[in-house]
Amino acid sequence: MSTELEELYQSVILDHSKRPRNFGEIADGAVHVHGDNPSCGDEIDLSVKFGADGVVEDVKFKGVGCAISQASASLMTMKLKGRSEADAREMLRAFHDLVTTEVADPPRLLGDLRLLAGVRKFPQRVKCAMLGWRAFEQALEQKSGDASVSTEEA
């Protein structure tokens, strides 16, 4: 068995993919962003409720797709809830670094999201890991209403 595979599909990641946390939709007062990876068919519907000063009050997602896209979104929702806008932006940046470059000491802020570091050995899967985050980035940009994002330009 390849160790890279074991690093990519750690038990926590497989667990989140099979039993995603914060799975659902926030009906009222939330930003809704639909994100997709057209080439693989992964889809995420993210709801984010921002409080005063841009605090992430609540965040939920629904989706279908590979273990990496779903686990990454699930872990993301757990870590984002209650964060200030500045922290959330910092996590977005740090997570992107984590899955694309060799980071010696990933920030503690990321918590269990650090388990996704194995993705960087699989460049074709980076967009899977980033799907939920791309949707969150869009939610941060607009703060209200509905939108959609795609990992490929339409």
């Binding site: 390849s2 595979l5 599909y9 693989c40 068919g41 279908v64 797709g65 273990a67 990496i68 899977c128």
Partner: protein, 408 residues
């Protein structure tokens, strides 16, 4: 064919297969996406560039006439391979997709009108769907689809419900690239003729895998890609019945397709040349000619029998794996196995397989509407060719059994 083929010796014709991937012997099961190339094809292309390369049809020097001969010889070989009435019925294209677009944009633009129906099936590859959507948008024609049944075959018993006199063109695949279904193409063409519809067959998955004879099938157009049948990428064929090709306007304008040009207007060559503007992919055509020779030597019936044997072995093994469901019909079918594994999404499974040296394809296989209809996020596909072995299928089944445990 009196002697059984020595498939191990045939496999040795493919240098690329003899390598390790991620520390494991390569198992190449992505043949429905693109096949590998035998030495004979690689050598024919090298020989062309080392000895004969020049532009075709216009130079008066020795190399140009050799290049022209090689190019036109390849056309004649393809015509014979497909059972066409003449080489003039063979248009070289970049591949299946370009062939379909050519028909949609020339024949379609001239003959398809508002209210006409373009009949397709629910199992078409995007390449045999999107060009018709574009044509429908331009002309006001309507699209209609023959449904796919649960067993992966077309709803043929009710074909008459969809194949009505308003149908101007019926375009369908010979072998489904995701289900493996072999459609009864001769029967479909007969039914289409009875209502006056023109037929187009997408032979991308069949042309290199089983005997295909356009006159026995009775189709009007047939398209194929060289790279799926041992030839290089960037070369393909549009077969069209002479009468239809003649009635079609040219496609791209430029050199090579004209008889005479003035500043105001031009006159065009006859088919196939009027569809081949600009310098063509000469080396690609030479490679395709060599591929056709190679496949003819093996015999397409023998290739089909070999593919089918591996497919049946794979299907039996996949059926025995827990949580695995195979798509498509049983019995006689194309040399591929599309399946879903409850424990793993196709992309996770193909990543897993790749780390074991096994090349599978995972995803929607350019069949997005079909996957949606089947309520699948995609499938994983193993597709075979004559150089694959029973031992490789066994190894794949071991790797997949390991995946069932790993993702459980």
């Amino acid at each position: 064919m009196s002697n059984p083929t020595d498939w191990a010796a045939v496999r040795a014709d493919f240098p690329i297969l003899d390598q390790q991937v991620r520390g494991q012997p390569l198992i190449y099961f992505d043949n429905a996406a693109s096949s590998q190339k035998p030495r004979a094809v690689i050598a024919a292309i090298a020989h062309y560039y080392e000895r004969d390369n020049a532009n075709v049809h216009r130079g008066l020097h020795e190399l140009s006439s050799r290049a022209t001969d090689a190019y036109e010889r390849a056309r004649a070989k393809v015509a014979a391979y497909l059972g066409a009435a003449s080489a003039e019925e063979v248009v070289f294209t970049r591949g299946t997709t370009e062939g379909i677009n050519l028909v949609a944009q020339t024949w379609g633009a001239k003959f398809v009108r508002v209210g006409d129906v373009i009949l397709l099936t629910e199992m078409e590859h995007h390449s045999n769907l999107v060009p018709w959507q574009m044509l429908a948008e331009r002309t006001g024609a309507r699209l209609r689809f023959v449904p796919v049944l649960d067993d992966g075959t077309l709803a043929l018993e009710r074909l008459g419900d969809w194949l009505t006199p308003e149908v101007k063109l019926f375009a369908f695949t010979h072998i489904s690239n995701s289900l493996g279904t072999i459609n009864p193409v001769a029967e479909l063409c007969r039914a289409a003729r009875a209502v006056g519809a023109v037929t187009l067959i997408d032979a991308a998955q069949s042309a290199g895998h089983l005997p295909v004879n356009v006159r026995e099938i009775g189709c009007d157009f047939l398209v194929l890609s060289g790279h799926k049948m041992c030839a290089p990428t960037g070369i393909g064929v549009l077969y069209g019945r002479a009468e239809l090709l003649e009635a079609m306007p040219p496609w791209h304008g430029g050199g090579e397709m004209i008889v005479s040009v003035s500043y105001e207007r031009s006159t065009y060559k006859k088919a196939p040349h009027k569809f081949e503007a600009g310098t063509p992919n000469i080396a690609g055509a030479v490679g395709l000619g060599a591929a056709v020779d190679y496949l003819e030597r093996l015999g397409r019936a023998a290739i089909f029998a070999h593919d089918l044997e591996l497919t049946q072995q794979a299907l039996a093994g996949l059926d025995a794996l827990p949580g695995v469901r195979v798509l498509g019909p049983r019995g006689e079918r194309g040399g591929l196995a599309g399946f879903v594994m409850a424990a793993a999404h196709p992309h996770d499974l193909t990543t897993f397989a790749d780390r074991h040296g096994l090349a599978l394809r995972g995803g929607h296989h350019c069949n997005q509407p079909l996957m949606k209809k089947l309520r699948l996020p995609g499938t994983t596909r193993a597709s075979f060719y004559f150089y694959n072995t029973r031992a490789e299928v066994d190894r794949m089944l071991e790797i997949l059994a390991e995946a069932v445990r790993f993702f459980a």
